[in-house]
């Protein structure tokens, strides 16, 4: 059964239509609260539409940061349209204990699945094709760790962006610091790039001499983005470019050339 409900977003001050599918009804049935929240992202905020197992609307809420639920875990459902760009991942269940959240989404049948955990946080990932299980496991763990560590500043849109990056990177060799990339991306709307003048002056003197290690244009782009949020620097870029820019930003931070300043 598919039904369409009309909801009002108090932040945008306009109505939206939301399609309620059987998947959401099942999620509501399985939820300890008896409802599931359907995620609808509107630029800098997300509208969460709560529906019960019969498909009736049980209220809406606007969130800028990831919701936090105390006591019973809150279940959030990601509509299939947000997963369409994913090439390898077909479904995800992310349990974030620090936020009291279970975030799930699916777009089809899977070839194989894996589950990783870090403390009380868990990630179940289903893929549509096979691959190097060790690499996929390491990337999944890095994603989970990064998202958990950045959860205080994470938003639903940046969480989905991180998922796209995870999807794009699964065949690469993960660095041991891959979790830092995900943490930076989930928190990117609250991270401002700040240039350290003396360090950047020296760094720019030898930047061309390390062009075989780091793409010069990415380093320069991050340096020129000083004063912007990291989200503004990566907005509308493809996932692999976002990964490269995040990796370069972290490389600059390690050298003291920039600060990645957390803002509320």
């Amino acid at each position: 059964m598919v039904r369409v409900i009309r909801v009002y977003c108090p932040r945008c001050e306009r109505d939206y239509e939301t399609v309620v599918t059987d998947d959401y009804l099942r999620a509501a049935r399985e939820s300890a609260t008896g409802v599931t929240g359907i995620v609808d992202i509107h630029d800098d905020h997300a509208l969460i539409i709560f529906v019960d197992a019969q498909g009736h609307e049980r209220g809406v809420r606007v969130y800028t940061l990831l919701p936090r639920s105390i006591g019973v875990a809150q279940r959030l459902s990601i509509p299939e349209r947000y997963l369409e760009d994913l090439e390898r991942i077909v479904s995800i269940v992310l349990k974030l204990s620090s936020r009291g959240l279970i975030i799930e989404g699916s777009k089809g049948s899977s070839f194989f699945a894996l589950k990783v955990s870090e403390g009380e946080d868990e990630l179940e990932l289903s893929l549509g094709s096979s691959g190097d299980v060790k690499k996929i496991g390491e990337w999944s763990r890095a994603f989970l760790l990064g998202v958990a560590r950045g959860a205080e500043m994470a938003r639903l849109d940046t969480l989905l962006l991180s998922l796209r990056i995870l999807d794009a990177c699964l065949d690469r060799t993960p660095p041991s610091y891959a979790h830092q990339v995900f943490k930076l991306i989930v928190a990117s709307r609250n991270i401002t790039i700040r240039l350290n003048e003396e360090e950047s002056e020296l760094f720019e003197t030898y930047i061309s001499r390390i062009a075989d290690v780091y793409p010069r244009h990415h380093l320069v782009y991050v340096l020129r983005s000083s004063g912007s949020t990291f989200y503004e620097a990566i907005r509308d870029r493809d996932p692999l470019t976002v990964y490269e820019l995040a990796d370069c930003a972290l490389a600059l931070k390690r050298r003291g050339v920039i600060e990645l300043e957390e803002t509320s």
């Binding site: 060799t173 660095p175 041991s176 610091y177 003396e198 360090e199 002056e201 020296l202 760094f203 003197t205 030898y206 001499r209 390390i210 075989d212 290690v213 780091y214 990796d247 972290l250 490389a251 390690r254 050298r255 003291g256 050339v257």
Partner: protein, 282 residues
């Protein structure tokens, strides 16, 4: 009193370092207050004392290429004098960026390459106090060998890992002191090197002794150091600031490495204030 023609004989790298002295004087003044608060006044006083013993460079035109990068690297170090007084045996803070800048100069990386030479098949390269890992990069890129880069600073290890991944090098970063590092290498050690400025924080004679114990027969110890050749080395005021009381004297160093430690077939090369040494274990 030195005359202008004496300076004309000085190499461009030495001149470039001396051009940063004006900035170092400003840096030392800035660092004095902080040093007093931390009880580290002796470091700043020591740096002043050595600085006053080294003749300044005359006004010369702006350097170019490698010399200009060297000048800027030392100007940067001078601007961070207040942070340098707190640098410990880890390759941390301003020293990390300085090390990478200096080591990416052509003369410095060529010096590393010429000293390392060929790595015997089946042998590994070990770089200790590796800092940003440029030494390992140079050695492994040219030889195709595998290696381990050790440092005690986790951030430096992440920089080394970036390099290894992006350049597809068979290089493993490990968190270890130069003493413990050899235990992390799974193959006979053919090259034991300490070529990053971050290595200057430790005693070269102890390093040579550890290298001799860790190397396979025929293996080589490679180090690049600001050695003293009877008079103060131009790099010395910067190092005094980091608490390095004394730089190795050239004759003394050779005696220690060759006679006391037991290396043979010692080869050296000097560029400006930097002396490279290559010594083979019999």
């Amino acid at each position: 009193m030195r005359r202008l023609r004496d300076f004309a004989r000085e190499d461009p790298i030495t001149l470039a370092i001396k051009l940063a002295y004006a900035h170092l004087r400003e840096g030392l003044e800035k660092a004095e207050k902080r040093a007093r608060r931390l009880g580290l006044e002796d470091r700043v006083e020591d740096a002043w004392r050595v600085l006053e013993r080294i003749p300044s460079a005359p006004l010369v035109g702006p350097p170019s290429g490698d010399a200009e990068l060297v000048r800027r690297a030392f100007v940067y170090l001078a601007s961070r004098a207040d942070k340098l007084i707190e640098v410990g045996p880890r390759s941390e803070g301003p020293l990390r960026l300085f090390a990478e800048a200096l080591m990416t100069t052509t003369f410095y990386s060529d010096l590393i390459a010429s000293m390392v030479g060929k790595v015997p098949r089946g042998s590994a390269v070990l770089e200790v106090q590796a800092g940003p890992g440029v030494g390992s990069q140079v050695a492994l890129t040219r030889s195709g060998a595998s290696g381990v880069a050790a440092d005690q600073d986790p951030t430096s290890l992440e920089i080394i890992e970036e390099r290894a991944l992006r350049l597809n090098l068979d290089l493993r970063p490990v968190l270890a002191s130069y003493n413990d590092a050899p235990t992390y290498v799974g193959a006979p050690i053919g090259v034991f090197m300490a070529v990053s400025p971050t290595a200057w924080l430790v005693d070269i004679a102890s390093l040579a002794s550890r290298a001799h114990a860790a190397l396979e027969p025929g293996g080589v110890f490679v180090a690049i150091w600001p050695v003293r050749h009877r008079e103060p080395n131009p790099v010395e005021p910067f190092l005094r600031l980091m608490g390095i009381k004394r730089l190795p004297e050239w004759d003394e160093l050779l005696y220690q490495v060759v006679h006391l430690v037991g290396f043979r077939r010692v080869r050296t090369k000097r560029i400006g204030p930097f002396t490279a040494i290559r010594a083979q274990k019999p």
